[in-house]
Symmetry: C2
Subunit: 151 residues, 2 copies
Amino acid sequence: MSIESEIKSTIELNINTKTVINILYTSKFIEDSFVTDLKPFDLSSQQYNVLRILRGQKGNPANLSTLQERMIDKSSNTTRLVDKLIQKDLAKRQICEANRRKVEIFITNKGLDLLKQLDPITEQKNKQLINKLSQEDLKIFNRILDTIRTR
Amino acid sequence: MSIESEIKSTIELNINTKTVINILYTSKFIEDSFVTDLKPFDLSSQQYNVLRILRGQKGNPANLSTLQERMIDKSSNTTRLVDKLIQKDLAKRQICEANRRKVEIFITNKGLDLLKQLDPITEQKNKQLINKLSQEDLKIFNRILDTIRTR
DNA sequence: TTATTACATTTGTACCTACAATTGTAGTAA
DNA sequence: TTACTACAATTGTAGGTACAAATGTAATAA
């Protein structure tokens, strides 16, 4: 369905406005879908994002600023987000001895197990969303997104 | 910058995952930019969205379910969102006499004036984000987004 | 050493969001 | 009429987010 029908716009949108709304709207659509998938696992999409970054560290710790830098949604309170993961025993935290201002955050085995459970679900979802598109379309599409973020 | 560099991914992402992350990330990028623009006007992006829908009604009232249906972010509490607009005298509300379960929401003149102030800013922002793209790219891009939202 | 400044994270707090429960209204059927 | 169901919006409340202020640590310079 076209974005105009989707938001039932009563007025004619110019192409710039339409395109911006389309990105925002489609992103919410995807986000909602992931939230639904993660709900049974009692995990928010932000928490999931952090867990995956921690796994990407391959045993090396991440500190808070690293997490913030890599998160999709940079605006949230990373300290309290990590608190939640620690409460659930999905991550652990220790003070960095080399620089006591920093904190070192690791994923636990329980965290790794949870991600292992979620991997096929996420894979499946990503595939379902994307595999209607040709390789050529994907190339163009990603290039356009990268361009939009460039000043 | 490519999305992998942007989120400083340490692992190789498959094309589906990469594309999904790219949409989410770019959408947050745009959202943040709008939030910054709206901040001096003490308006959240959700409130702005509702105001624009109300204006689109061209004098006709909207009820809550209409607003919810048309909003970009459908998940928020529309009652309290509208409360905020009423507090600021940007909207007014009355009970629908034909069906007293419904409520009729209108934009006020103050609301219209505020939108008039914001129009050029939004226009400018949308243009800045989008006008690096050719007409052909825009056509492909919007088609792809519409496709992604299709099951 | 003692200030001074910068850095990294945490905390306080007001506001916002999610979602279930509740309220009030309308439609329908016995 | 009464009971039942559906609808539309509101409210309660737990939890999340934004952002400024505070805390604790490190680096640098006088």
